[in-house]
């Protein structure tokens, strides 16, 4: 019975903490740019505002446009449940493993792209075409990272590498590759700009252009959670801290704090990258992802050599 | 007793054709005549299988299983041609292509032609065998040049000259055989039944040279590669039932003659010599026909080149030898004779209706003439060696024997050429058959006799199981009997 309890706890944790993480990153970016910037809790205010606004739906949209936010939200949360946050193995780990997570994200992206096409505006079409282009190039890089991890730890099940293990060169390079992939996935600067509404540059924004009110809120929340999931994964691979096993629940909260420190470190890194690098042209993104892929290959070679 | 009927009926019919008044009645009489010939041939063949002894009448007629088999093949195609020619001649007279008494002249030549073809397998003496084949050439020359147009006369002239030259070389080969006999002091009688037991005593060198002349001589008549040049012209210009007879059966009589001498040479010099020569010429004719079929524009010439291809396969089958090879080749002779005559009947109908041989103009035969179209479609796939039809089985047997014998090059070349020719056939016939008919082309019913001929022929083509049965049970037994090998 406490499996269900733990699941709801993890669910609540993700829904509440995720926007905070995104607020934190924007805060760090603004500080680096020597600007005051919005407060850390600004994402919460946006969500509350969106939830209270009414919704405008385009005339040509079909049931796919209306159902897409729920599919995106549920798929991202399912992926989140796979991550072992509080205890050694996440309660729903028999549901799938790292590979399944890749496909679960693909489900969300599939529906979002379709919803973008549904409205019939050229922005939506452009956004979905670019999104599918980037995601289809992300998949090989992500798969190579998973391959490196599975070579290193014996299987692709997430709980295997949440145990204590020595820091090895291959896991560091794998984490770096995963970091580049997460930039592409969570539409950070070098690949795609979140804040802008300039047609030529936006990818993720273009898809959700037609949404308003509560569906937009759900999609925003999903993107925050996705970001957090990626950061958790990177943290797990690079900073190997043995999470408490299932019995001693008491320790769970003490270790959680150490866990948040690692997440903050990664978000600082992410903010630094966003500030330092300018946005690339769409077709240069292919080379960017190839670089991530090469990093993955290097991680595999190191894993094979046993470094 | 059957043989006298088989030979007598066509002779009588040919004489009858000249005097009998009504053409319509004579057509039916003709069919009945050939039906009886067919029954006698079947009776003869079964009798031969059961009483495995050769029958000799006054040392002139010699019948063993091989000749009975060829007589059966000839009678099947002759009967089908006789049925088909009733309808065809009626249509020709309707289109004013030939006059009334010319039709009577046609029937007389038709029966003489069949008589001479029946004579070839029956005869014992090799000299008379030569004379019989010469007679078939002379008679069929008139039938090739029947329409008296520029092309048909040219085709007839080429047919006569090239075949006569070929046959003269065959006669030279026979004379060398006689010379070999006289040198080794044996009796100079040319009877095949006397030569075979004594063949191993003959001088090897002369036998080899003799067989080369025989092979080139009768090969010209059989349409083997370098000497095949008369075949496309003759078959495309002849009257449809006659070109069916020509390519279905006349080529086979020449192959029969080569086989007769082949048996002597196998006994005298050994199988390798006979095998290599046959495979060489067979492969050459396969290669040349494959090239011509690919770029052919004329429907009947396409079918003529197909005969060259299948004659090539038959000679390769005999060249490879072994129970499977020879069995496959023999089966292929029957299958090809039947399928090719069906195709020529179909082509005859199509050419009659579209008034052109050019395949680029003929379109939508399935729409314009549903029955012939379907028969052509089935025949085309049968000819190309598609599965459910019997040619596929005989080709498989020949390829199988090639692999058994270990001659991989021959097998792979054979498979390659058959695949290319399959592609060419499907390419040509799908263009002709499908698509919609040209404007103003009325869908008219074919004459009953035409339909009967097709149905009679389509049965053996699909008789795949009989082929399987035939090859399975007593194949080697027949081969032993035939070749006393």
């Amino acid at each position: 019975m406490n499996k269900i309890l733990l699941l709801t706890l993890q669910l609540a944790f993700f829904i509440t903490v995720a926007p905070l993480l995104s607020g934190l990153i924007t805060k760090i970016k603004n500080n680096i740019r020597m600007r005051e910037g919005q407060s850390v809790f600004q994402p919460y205010y946006n969500l509350v505002k969106l939830f209270s606004k009414s919704e405008v739906i385009s005339g040509t949209a079909s049931w796919i446009f209306r159902s897409a936010p729920f599919v995106v939200f549920s798929s991202t949360l399912t992926a989140a449940l796979l991550i072992p946050v509080f205890i050694f193995t996440s309660p729903a780990h028999t549901m799938g493993d790292l590979l399944a997570m890749v496909f679960i994200f693909a489900l969300g992206r599939f529906f979002l792209a379709l919803a973008a096409l549904d409205t019939g505006s050229s922005f939506g079409g452009m956004g979905s075409s670019r999104e599918m282009f980037i995601s289809s190039l992300v998949e090989p890089a992500l798969c190579m990272v998973i391959f490196a991890v599975s070579l290193q730890f014996g299987s692709t099940d997430i709980s295997t590498f949440s145990g204590a293990h020595a820091i090895s060169v291959s896991s560091i390079i794998a984490a770096l590759a995963l970091f580049l992939v997460s930039i592409a996935e969570t539409s950070r600067i070098p690949v795609d700009n979140q804040e802008t509404h300039l047609e030529l540059t936006m990818v993720h924004e273009a898809m959700v252009l037609e949404y308003s009110g509560r569906p937009l809120a759900l999609i925003e929340m999903a993107s925050y959670i996705k970001q957090m999931v990626f950061f958790f994964l990177i943290a797990q691979i690079v900073f190997p801290i043995c999470l408490p096993s299932y019995e001693n629940l008491a320790q769970a909260f003490s270790w959680a704090s150490w866990y948040c420190v690692r997440i903050i470190l990664i978000s600082i890194a992410a903010a630094l990258v966003e500030v330092a690098v300018a946005k690339m042209r769409l077709l240069r993104v292919a080379d960017f992802l190839e670089f991530a892929f090469v990093l993955g290959v290097i991680a595999c070679v190191c894993a094979i050599v046993g470094v | 007793m059957q043989i006298s009927l088989i030979l007598g009926i066509p002779a009588l019919l040919s004489i009858g054709a000249l005097f009998l008044g009504k053409r319509k009645i004579f057509g039916i009489v003709n069919c009945i005549g050939y039906l009886t010939v067919l029954c006698c041939a079947i009776g003869l063949f079964i009798e031969m299988i059961l009483s495995n002894s050769a029958k000799v009448f006054r040392s002139f007629i010699y019948l063993d299983l091989l000749s009975a088999y060829f007589i059966l093949v000839i009678s099947v195609v002759a009967f089908a041609a006789s049925i088909y020619s009733i309808g065809y001649i009626k249509k020709d007279i309707a289109n004013k292509a030939i006059s009334e008494n010319k039709a009577r002249f046609y029937y007389c030549l038709f029966d003489l032609f069949c008589f001479s073809m029946f004579l070839v397998p029956a005869v014992n003496n090799l000299g008379i065998l030569w004379v019989a084949i010469e007679m078939t050439t002379l008679i069929s020359a008139f039938l090739v040049g029947f329409y008296n147009s520029k092309e048909s006369v040219e085709a007839a002239w080429k047919y006569i000259i090239i075949c006569s030259v070929g046959i003269i070389f065959a006669l030279l080969g026979t004379i060398l055989l006689v010379y070999a006999l006289s040198i080794s002091g044996l009796s100079k009688s040319l009877n095949w039944s006397d030569i075979v037991p004594v063949a191993h005593l003959l001088d090897k060198n002369i036998l080899k040279v003799a067989f080369i002349f025989i092979l080139v001589g009768y090969g010209t008549k059989a349409g083997l590669a370098p000497m095949h040049t008369w075949l496309p012209d003759a078959h495309s210009q002849a009257v449809a039932p006659i070109s069916a007879l020509l390519s279905g059966v006349l080529l086979k009589t020449a192959i029969y003659a080569i086989l007769r001498f082949g048996i002597i040479v196998i006994k005298g010099v050994g199988f390798a010599y006979f095998g290599n020569l046959m495979i060489l010429l067979g492969m050459l004719s396969l290669a040349i026909s494959c090239g011509f079929i690919l770029v052919q524009k004329d429907l009947k010439r396409l079918l003529a080149y197909h005969s060259i291809e299948h004659v090539g396969i038959i000679s390769i089958g005999f060249g490879i030898g072994g129970a499977l090879g020879i069995g496959g080749a023999l089966l292929h002779i029957f299958n090809h004779a039947v399928t090719k005559s069906l195709m020529f009947f179909g082509a005859g109908n199509v050419v009659n209706k579209y008034q052109t041989h050019n395949m680029h103009i003929i379109r939508g035969v399935l729409r314009a003439m549903p029955f012939t179209g379907f028969m052509l479609l089935m025949g085309a796939f049968a000819l190309a060696g598609m599965a459910p039809f019997s040619i596929f089985i005989s080709e498989i047997l020949i390829i199988c024997s090639a692999f058994l014998k270990g001659s991989y090059l021959v097998a792979f070349l054979l498979l390659g050429f058959i695949a290319i020719i399959f592609g060419a056939v499907v390419h040509h016939f799908s263009k002709i058959l499908f698509g919609n008919a040209p404007k103003g082309m009325s869908v008219e019913k074919e004459p009953l006799s035409g339909k009967l001929a097709f149905l009679f022929l389509s049965f053996p083509i699909c008789a795949l199981w009989i082929a399987l049965l035939f090859t399975n049970k007593d194949l080697t037994w027949i081969i032993q009997k035939l070749f006393q090998a």
Binding site: G125 | V295, L468
Partner: protein
């Protein structure tokens, strides 16, 4: 001496029964579908003919997969090709379908020639056409002949399966056939070739050399990539699906190739696992490809065109077909709850587990193949977003799409049955895996008694590393529950009314269909990214009224079919040119003909000693 008549004609081992099952689960709905599909199109006589041909087609396929004797196999194989040829050229008025039919039947015949060669070599060792006799003979066969037989079998079955260099006929033949036939052809017929490879290479010949598996894997990877890249560029919906068949055959062959590789490396259980993954993807592909072709058929029947650039907004007029197409698209793009995801996940796991047990460089090779598979599934998802989005969503782009009406009941029933199967095969994964392992084990004569699979924990304990977990039902349940929580959050706040307004048009005038994104535009990034392979051709032209005013702008682009242009066309040109040059042999002068005879005699006599 020569026992042609087979002792036992038909086999009934699990592999054949599995393929029979695959044949019937696709043929049944297609047959039901064909009621509605053919009703208005052809006269009654032709419909009866199509039924007759369909019956022969299905029976010959069933005979192929259960043939116990090589001759029966060959005859059934050719009957299958013949019946499918007639069905491809069923609509004889179009010139295209005749050309497609010819290419199709010629390619299959060349394949059959290779098959005959391989079978005959085996026959020459075994002296009998029976499969089991061949199997014993193959044990004592020298390695050199085994390699020749393997290569000719691969080419023979490759032409029918549509492996890349030999896939040319597939995008021509499948779209021309009536849709229910192309669903059977694409769903099942190319699978009989995979059956052939498994039966004759793995069961009878026995994998002896490692390079066999590697060759099949390389071919499979190339097929995957080429298939999906060309599918991205294709705008005719049935051609698009045909190219996807090439891609999915590649994925199936990845499983089969892996099994071959592992048997040669001496890892029997991993071989069974990867063959099971291959077979699972085979049945999944049969289901969702059949479904997609049926939906494409109903789109064609409703609108009259197959070009997705002219369609759009069909989801409003044809809700059922749209829903079924969406399900099919999700299944083929390997999205979680459905069957495509499970089989693709299993194939990837086969690669990862394999990599754990293999030494040194081959780990990287297996990793590389897995990565190419991931890339393919990514591109496939993109392609089906394009196909579904452009065809069904947004507004109608042409009068075809405007007048579309929903299809008749029998067609919907066919599609519903198959879409139900995609869900069932997705959720009931573990039960199906248990049966498929038995089939794979029997195909490779490996006893699988102690390989065990718990409900959602697929452990391969004798061989692999740590256990791996996947349970599709649990995944579907969690997705559903979280979807409902999203809905609850959505409705928890005070009810707000939602306003319907037209799409954001930057404020100046009403948007019409020409503003919608087209399929060419959608696939433009891919065309540029893969331009090294597609060699895209692009021509833009401005038609100007005056120097300043541009009246209209034309944009034309197409990609070059690399295989057709650089492999098949030169061969055809060579063959036809040599044939034309051979025509000069018969110029019509009788003197030359006499010369031929004279020279033959001289040559034969001179070289007499050689014979």
């Amino acid at each position: 001496m020569l026992d042609l008549l087979p002792k036992h004609i038909f086999l009934s081992d699990p592999l054949s029964l599995f393929f029979l099952f695959v044949i019937f689960i696709v043929s049944l709905p297609s047959a039901i579908y064909s009621f509605g599909y053919l009703k208005g199109e052809y006269p009654l006589k032709k419909i009866i003919l199509s039924w007759f041909l369909l019956a022969i087609f299905i029976l010959s396929m069933a005979a192929v997969v259960t043939a116990g004797n090589v001759l029966v196999f060959l005859v059934a194989w050719e009957m299958m090709s013949l019946a499918s040829y007639f069905l491809v050229v069923f609509d004889t008025t179009h010139e295209r379908s005749i050309k497609a039919g010819t290419i199709y039947v010629v390619m299959t015949q060349i394949g059959a020639a290779f098959l005959i060669a391989a079978f005959m070599i085996m026959y020459s060792y075994a002296r009998s056409f029976d499969l089991f006799a061949l199997k014993n003979a193959c044990l004592a066969m020298p390695a050199q002949t085994k390699n020749i037989i393997f290569v000719s079998l691969l080419i023979g079955f490759g032409t029918k399966a549509g492996i890349v260099p030999l896939h040319i006929w597939l995008p021509y033949a499948h779209p021309q056939a009536p849709s229910h036939i192309s669903s059977i052809m694409s769903g099942v017929m190319i699978k009989t070739a995979i059956y052939g490879i498994i039966r004759f290479v793995m069961f009878i010949l026995g994998v002896s050399a490692a390079w066999w598996g590697v060759l099949v894997l390389i071919l499979a990877v190339i097929s995957c990539l080429v298939g999906v890249i060309y599918a991205l560029m294709e705008h005719d919906i049935k051609k698009l699906l045909a190219y996807h068949s090439v891609e999915n055959i590649g994925i199936i062959l990845l499983g089969v190739g892996l099994a071959m590789f592992f048997t040669s490396q001496g890892l029997p259980y991993l071989a069974v696992f990867s063959l099971m993954a291959g077979l699972y993807h085979l049945v999944n592909h049969a289901i969702f490809k059949g479904l997609l072709f049926l939906c494409a058929g109903s789109v064609y029947k409703a609108t009259g065109t197959r070009d997705i650039e002219k369609l759009g907004g069909l989801i409003k007029t044809m809700p059922y077909t749209a829903a079924y197409f969406l399900l099919g698209a999700m299944a083929i793009s390997a999205l979680p709850p459905l069957n495509g995801f499970v089989s693709e996940w299993l194939t990837l796991q086969a690669f990862f587990l394999g990599a754990l047990n293999v030494i040194g460089g081959t780990k990287l090779f297996l990793g590389f193949c897995a990565v190419m598979l991931a890339l393919t599934s990514g591109l496939a998802a993109a392609c089906f977003v394009k196909a579904f989005g452009i065809t069904f969503l947004a507004g109608p782009r042409s009068h075809y799409a405007k007048e579309a009406k929903e299809v008749s009941l029998s067609m919907k029933a066919g599609m519903f049955f198959l879409s139900l199967l995609t869900i069932v095969f997705g959720l009931a994964a573990t039960m199906i895996i248990r049966y498929l392992t038995r089939a794979a084990g029997s195909a490779m004569d490996i006893d699988i008694s102690h390989m065990q699979f718990s409900l959602n924990n697929i452990t391969l304990n004798p061989q692999a590393g740590k256990s791996i977990y996947l349970s599709p039902p649990l995944l579907a349940l969690v997705l559903l529950v979280l979807g409902i929580t999203g809905l609850v959050i959505f409705c928890a706040w005070r009810r707000k009314r939602s306003v319907r307004h037209n799409t954001w048009d930057c404020g100046y005038y009403r948007l019409d269909a020409r503003n919608e994104y087209t399929a060419t535009a959608f696939s433009k990034p891919f065309r540029i990214a893969f331009s090294f392979f597609l060699l895209p051709y692009r021509k833009t032209q401005k038609i100007r009224e005056s120097f300043y005013h541009v009246r209209s702008f034309t944009y034309e682009t197409h990609t070059i079919q690399v295989f057709k242009k650089y492999l098949y066309d030169p061969v055809l040109v060579l063959v036809f040119r040599s044939a034309k040059s051979m025509r000069r042999l018969q110029p019509g002068s009788i003197h030359l003909y006499l010369m031929y005879i004279f020279i033959t005699i001289i040559l034969l006599i001179v070289f007499m000693r050689w014979f």
